[in-house]
């Protein structure tokens, strides 16, 4: 035992005695942080299933009439009525389908593979694997793509489904942070693990199938690629601490990032090296950016929507979503003259048009559908309504 080591023992023990005491509020603080984190993760996972407490501050465009970017901000008290129903405003984009599959099972819509084929998953039942299907909305034909295995010890179930290049991919996490990326052929077959990666409780926050590879990012940062059929996982150059936005664009901070830093405020094109930093002003918070637009809250607590460079700013009629980055379309509630919520509206921020999605409040809550990718899905009585945003000119 040498002197230095003895001195170190004394020093560390002595210093430890100088540590502050844990406050009585520590459990509460931990619980609050845990719930915040969990809600964020859940929001990111169940993107389209956010329920908004009605009555929160929200601006709305004047109902109905099409108009361009308003020069004067529309105000909350201008919103006494809902706009026309979406099936009238954008009939070509709306498709209502039964809420259950032809086999009677409930399902989760994932995304449209083409005009009339919807990728759907069915949850695992008792001792039964989940299944991912291709669902033909016209013929109502249900074609099984693959079983979705749930390995023993799984703590985060299959999430983040993405499709492309004839493959469908998703991720799971086993206890101890063993993240796994799965892939199966869209034509049908067995799901295989194509990549493994240590992750934290949040799992992954981005997954895409592109060209000849699968791209993914971890909630705690880092963008990686793996060949479609599996192989070596490679870190994307300059992708440490970054998150997948829309390949080949990656950025920071990710959707799970802190509210005082703009989500995807800084982005980089991995292929060309081009970078872009979104404009932010002092006092703004909760800023979230996509490839083109940003949404956020100004110092006065009002939501805004604008281009990444700060131009074309206008009040945002929508609620901010923790689950997706802002694009051309957004959703928010409209209140009547008496301040009571009337329904949920889809806004096209480029043309200024808006449409009533058909959702009505239930008690104190109202379902808030969020545009994810190129579609909005929402439950409507015994039906499921799909709005294909690519069909809106």
């Amino acid at each position: 035992m040498n002197q230095l080591e003895d001195a170190l023992r004394r020093t560390l023990t002595g210093a430890a005695g100088q540590a502050p005491h844990a406050p009585a509020t520590l459990t509460g603080a931990v619980e609050a942080r845990y719930r915040r984190r969990r809600n964020r993760t859940r929001a990111a996972l169940a993107a389209a299933a956010v329920v908004a407490l009605v009555g929160g501050a929200a601006f709305a465009l004047k109902g109905g009439a099409p108009r361009a970017m308003p020069a004067t901000p529309p105000t909350a008290d201008a919103t006494a009525a809902l706009p026309d129903p979406v099936e009238k405003v954008w009939p070509q984009a709306v498709r209502d389908i039964p809420a259950r599959l032809p086999n009677g099972r409930a399902f989760h819509p994932i995304r449209l593979l083409d005009d009339h084929t919807l990728l759907v998953t069915v949850d695992a039942g008792f001792e039964k694997a989940g299944v991912v299907y291709a669902y033909d909305l016209e013929s109502r034909d249900l074609r099984k793509i693959a079983d979705v295995p749930t390995p023993k010890g799984t703590v985060a179930f299959a999430s983040g489904f993405a499709a492309g290049e004839g493959r469908v991919a998703w991720w799971t996490v086993k206890e101890g942070g063993q993240g796994m990326i799965w892939s199966a052929p869209l034509s049908g077959g067995k799901a295989t693990i194509v990549a493994r990666r240590k992750v934290d409780d949040g799992g992954f926050d981005g997954l895409a199938v592109t060209d000849d590879k699968i791209v993914f990012s971890a909630q705690d940062g880092g963008v990686f690629t793996v060949p479609l059929g599996g192989g070596t996982v490679e870190a994307v150059e300059g992708g440490a601490d970054m998150h997948l936005l829309s390949w080949p664009w990656i950025g920071t901070v990710g959707l799970g990032g802190p509210s005082d830093e703009p989500r995807f405020g800084t982005i980089r094109n991995v292929e060309t090296g081009e970078t872009d930093t979104a404009l932010t002003r002092a006092g703004e918070q909760n800023i979230s950016c996509g490839l083109v637009f940003c949404m956020g809250e100004n110092g006065a607590g009002e939501y805004f929507h604008r281009m990444r460079d700060g131009s074309r700013e206008q009040p945002a009629p929508c609620l901010l979503s923790a689950a997706s980055t802002p694009g051309r379309f957004c959703t928010g509630p409209v209140k009547g003259a008496d301040g009571r919520p009337l329904g949920m509206v889809l806004y096209d921020l480029t043309t200024g048009r808006s449409a009533d999605l058909g959702i009505r409040p239930k008690g104190k809550e109202m379902f808030l559908p969020v545009p994810v990718g190129t579609q909005v899905t929402l439950p409507l009585d015994k039906q499921l309504r799909l709005v294909d945003l690519t069909k809106i000119p």
């Binding site: 170190l8 004394r10 560390l12 002595g14 430890a16 502050p20 406050p23 520590l26 603080a29 802190p258």
Partner: protein
Amino acid sequence: MDQDPRFAEFVAERGDALLRYGYVLAGNPHDAADLVQEALVKLRASWARVRLKDNPESYARTTMARLHIRAWRLRRREHLAWDPPEREHHDTLPDGEEQRLWHAMAGLPRRQRAVVVLRYYEQLTDEEIARVLGVSRGTVRSQAARALAKLRDSVSAESAVPTTRGEAR
């Protein structure tokens, strides 16, 4: 999932001990509080499993050591729910040598500091340290040797030119 009352009990009973450990790991009360809270959030998320299979305290301590060496910057990520008051903490260390060593530890890279804390505060063997930090035993040895050499150097240098503040990083 509602909170298990045993989790609250664990925090109440072991919070101070974890904070002491966090303090020697991080070197200042703020990062110590962050480390403890972050580790407890992770423990909270896995409570049912950890309580049955592992030792919650060792889970929390391992998490804290790993968070510390991951150059973790929670301050950037989340507002602290509780931030301890600033205070002069090193002036009560009994003699000059211990104060100098405590100062000198602030100059160690995170991983070296973690190895020193695990060895001389937690009294772990190199094998155990390797497991906690997820590195090889050889790495533990070389990191420890480098840390000790650096501490020895800076303590002898500092004896000549004493500094006043222990929180520099």
